[in-house]
């Protein structure tokens, strides 16, 4: 197994100045290694920082200590200390992130939302849209909705658009935060298929699952927090 994410002694403490300057430790001394083609489930009691870990790897949260090294463009980048511009480059080409909820932008149609990560990489519009439509179809989004902004979609539809977006670009590292939470069983199964395919294609997957069965089906290994 070739490691693509190496986390060493990671610490995260929130310092809330407005709430009497309290400090909330979320992670301390956390280390892990995730390899290409591996799917790892992050487990632990709720409130123990599972989502926070994903945000730290993605760079949305700033680490208090430690290193998060990601194999990017034939080199290691420490997301914990990298300059914003490097983190953006890592996000563009290396790390994908499926959040719990889609951030809807009014007037941007669903297919464009899905195609965006491909366009950001410089993939031609036609190719990007073709791939986007293919994924939307696989995830059961009716064709008549592709041209509409997901603003008016149901929660489940929005989440499937979000998943399609996450899988569109075949990121070498993919972070999934409860990707199946608001889906029915048929769609859950489709998402698990996508995860399996991404793994087979060599992506490293770091996921948080609510459901034990799904977690076991999707992931080969668990890393426990707390």
């Amino acid at each position: 197994m070739t490691p693509v994410v190496t986390i060493t002694d990671l610490a995260k403490t929130f310092h809330l100045h407005q709430q009497g300057s309290i400090r909330i430790p979320v992670l301390a001394g956390f280390s892990a290694e995730i390899g290409a083609g591996e799917a790892v489930a992050v487990t632990g009691p709720s409130g123990r920082g599972k989502s926070s870990l994903l945000k730290l790897i993605y760079g949305s949260y700033r680490a208090t200590g430690g290193a998060i090294r990601v194999w990017h463009d034939e080199d290691w980048v420490d997301v914990a200390t990298a300059a914003p511009r490097e983190v953006l480059a890592v996000r563009r080409r290396t790390i994908g992130y499926v959040t719990q909820f889609l951030r809807v932008i009014p007037r941007v149609p669903a297919e464009a939302v899905v195609a965006e990560p491909l366009l950001d990489r410089g993939i031609p519009q036609d190719t990007a849209l073709e791939r986007a439509r293919h994924l939307l179809a696989r995830l059961g989004i009716p064709q008549r909705l592709w041209h509409l902004s997901p603003m008016t979609f149901s929660g489940g539809e929005q989440q499937r658009v979000n998943i399609a977006r996450g899988f569109a670009a075949a990121f070498p590292v993919l972070l999934l935060d409860e990707p199946t939470a608001s889906l029915d069983s048929a769609n859950r199964s489709r998402v698990l298929d996508l995860i399996e395919e991404a793994r087979a294609a060599g992506s490293a997957i770091i996921a948080v699952f609510h459901d034990d069965t799904e977690r076991r089906r999707a992931c080969s290994r668990e890393i426990a927090l707390g």
Partner: protein, 256 residues
């Protein structure tokens, strides 16, 4: 890689009063930076310094010209600076009346920059004006109307078209959605976001509105009392603010 725009220790004081103090930053091609803070935080002063509208008291602002030369703005002659402002740069004012020629038609407003750089073909200028009005979603049949007859949102879109007609690489925006109704704001923000992506524009957006910053920018600078107190990726600053003031700013918005 040389940044498009870079500031080193930019300070502006008016007599004893500090406008902005010791600001350093860099902006690369295609990047969108938001400068946020409350009124009086120095963000507009900084924008005016970065865009060459205000001479700095100390520090330097550098820009990479189209020919690749990376020059300090105060090493440029006034003629070069003014040429830069109406070709390679755009400036979108909060009040469209400051950025438009209210006395002439919408078409003339869009065509002016072309004429300013020497285009002397009416038909071509007209065709560009039509094209740009369409791109900012202004109906073609309003081309000969005065901006006075436009709504606030339309004036703002016209101002954007007027700036973009020379294909600038950098656009400065000062509270571009300020003073507009919420629904009008949303449409304008979508339009700006779309244009910035499509044209691969670099932009510096000054705003007090974190929602505007979130939608438009990839990076943020938070200012308070003339100083930059926090910088980072936009999602970083909004989701994991570090400075006490930023935390207050973010939490007060989230409560709304």
């Amino acid at each position: 890689m040389t940044p498009l725009l870079a500031a080193e220790g930019v300070t502006k004081s008016y007599g004893g009063r500090i406008g902005c103090s010791d600001v350093s930053m860099s902006l690369h091609a295609g990047e969108v930076l938001a400068i946020v803070g409350e009124s009086g935080s120095g963000k507009t002063t900084l924008l005016r310094c970065l865009s060459g509208h205000l001479p700095v008291t100390a520090g330097k602002v550098r820009y990479t010209l189209r020919d690749g030369r990376h020059v300090s703005l105060d090493d440029l002659s006034e003629a070069e600076r003014r040429l830069l402002m109406r070709t390679d740069w755009g400036f979108v004012h909060q009040d469209a009346r400051d950025g438009l020629r209210m006395g002439v038609s919408a078409g003339a407003n869009v065509g002016e920059r072309m004429m300013a750089v020497g285009d002397r073909h009416y038909g071509r200028i007209r065709a560009s004006a039509v094209d740009w009005l369409t791109r900012v979603e202004i109906p073609e049949d309003r081309i000969d109307d005065s901006p006075w007859s436009y709504s606030g949102g339309m004036r703002q879109r016209l101002q954007i078209a007027r700036n973009l007609v020379t294909s600038p690489r950098l656009v400065f925006m000062d509270e571009p959605t300020g003073g507009l109704d919420v629904s009008v704001q949303a449409r304008l923000l979508d339009l700006i976001r779309g244009l910035v992506r499509k044209l691969d524009l670099a932009a510096i957006v000054v705003t007090h509105d974190l929602a505007v910053a979130r939608l438009l920018s990839t990076r943020m600078m938070v200012m308070q009392q003339g100083r930059v107190i926090e910088t980072g990726l936009t999602d970083q600053v909004l989701e994991d603010p570090q400075a006490p003031y930023t935390q207050l700013l973010v939490s007060s918005v989230l409560q709304v």
